[in-house]
Amino acid sequence: MITIKGKGVSAGVAAGPLYFYQRASGSIPRYQVEDRGTEWERFKAAQAKAIEQLGVLAEKAREEAGDDAAMLFETHQMMCEDMDYEEAIQNAIADEGLNAEAAVFDSGEFQAEAFAAMEDEYFSARAADVRDISRRIIGILAGVVEGGIDSDVPVVLAADDLAPSETVQLDKSKILGFVTSGGSGSSHTAILARTMGIPAIIGAGDQLREEYAGKEVVIDGGEGVAILDADEETYAKLMKKKEELRKRQELLGQLKGKPNVTKDGHEIRIYCNIGDPKDVPPVLENDGGGIGLFRSEFLYLNCDDYPTEDYQFEAYKKVLSDMGGKEVVIRTLDIGADKMIEYFHLPEEENPALGNRALRICLNRPEIFRTQLRALYRASAYGRLSIMFPMVTAVWEVEEAKKMCEQVKAELDAEGIPYSDHVDVGIMIETPAAAVISDRLAKVVDFFSIGTNDLTQYTLACDRQNNDLGRFFNPHHPAVLRLIKLVAENAHKEGIWCGICGELGADLELTETFLSIGVDELSVSPRAVLPLRQKVRETELGAVKQKLIDELMGD
């Protein structure tokens, strides 16, 4: 078994024989011509033909992968006619009497090297485009007809790097995936592989050897590994992953864009939990309706000192603008208990889960809280923000936190800094105290989100970090579920919404129960969105609701 490691640039798993892409020809003919005028005409004809071919490719790409893919070839058409590129060819032919193939090659290399030397990854990757158009024109001059893959069975295609025209001309039905020794994340192999949903690994370097041609290979584009002659166990593991990905893809195809609505028309919002602005793409890929919990702790955990207002502002702004107007619930700092940060210099506690944590720290150290609130309100101008406070046990805590929000808004007004007037303020319900007085809390906030992990821990007196508690730590415990029901009812009495953002939200065994209770939103990891949507769409609420409520509330 040989493992080749590269950079995964397009997810997916595929298995098949490794096939090395064969280019039409190696060396470029180089000689002196007698009739320079005719040679120039020969170039002009080849250039025109290249532009025509690229036009055909553009149409093909448009059909397969959309306008953006087509634009690539349209740009190539223009590059064929670039003034500097053409002038260098003309000089080589007219002044030096060089043959057209060599003149095109030299001019292309000259431009390609200049691009390759550029620092910016995007621009240096354009060297491949120039080489590609040169190769095309030379191919036409030399009378080469570009071919596909000479194999009867589908293959995993290996190459140094594939030029865009090569990628688009490939017979897609013959390709299971790509492995290249060179390339970058912005290379065309990567872009087209992603567009077409085929796994691809790039930058394998000299690990990718021609002697491997014909060997059975399994590639995992998500992990960036290609395994040759995989042993049975590895093969089985990867095939299982392939099957899961396939199912996921199928689910996505069926459910993307569909509402989260039961057979009898009861709708629920499905949002996502994230911990970093980098997590937004999976939310959108999995069709999350918004972000129900953005844990802001990462900003603090990634820093050696208190993160500045500007640093936080940029992170919040990025998430809000990337979500394009969909609701984003950002939870204010929730440290303490299992999440400790050194520069906070929190005193050691006997019982940190019952100690100085989350909102308690924020209210005791208003300067830290103020910085975060300012960053949040400033970012609110860039999307639909909701702010959520964690670890509430009393109404006064919320009132004090809201007062700070008002102070921050007044400051921003005075400084002339814009913010949104429609920022909702809500709280996490994760202590039994908050659940029991949720009728009162509902009067002072815009929404509730139930943190089931902590709510279970505090309700059942079971430390969530203690793995030995096993059967005693039961999140399906009726005490927890009855509290959730109480919270949802109290929320609705005051006309506010109630969601769940703990692990339990994604528990498919409880989906019907949550729907019966009237939970308005479930916030789950991006991967859980579609299975949950599927579950909701399969449910006939009227048929199960009364029975589930009776079971929960009965003797």
């Binding site: 349209e74 691009f115 910016d120 621009f123």
Partner: protein, 86 residues
């Protein structure tokens, strides 16, 4: 001569696509030479590869100059193009 400055907002900078469209557009400006300058280096916008090799990135300030022809009208058109595409 007519000139204006422009700050690039496109995340990739002046990449192949807008450079290509600009080069195409510039062919219609008979009698006008349009150049783009960044950090002391100027390039005719007709030269697609040359413009890309300026390596103009997001946040860079470029100076666009129009010489000859209907400078006023061409400059207005080019400026509109930058605002829409870059």
């Amino acid at each position: 001569m007519k000139s204006f400055e422009y700050t690039i907002t496109d995340p990739v900078g002046i990449h192949a696509r807008p450079a290509g469209i600009l080069a195409k557009k510039a062919k219609e400006f008979a009698g006008s030479t349009v150049t783009i300058e960044k950090g002391g280096k100027a390039e005719n916008v007709l030269k697609l590869m040359g413009v890309m090799k300026l390596g103009v990135k997001q946040g860079d300030v470029v100076t666009i100059r129009v010489e000859g022809g209907d400078e006023e009208a061409v400059a207005a058109q080019v400026e509109e193009f930058f605002k829409e595409n870059l």
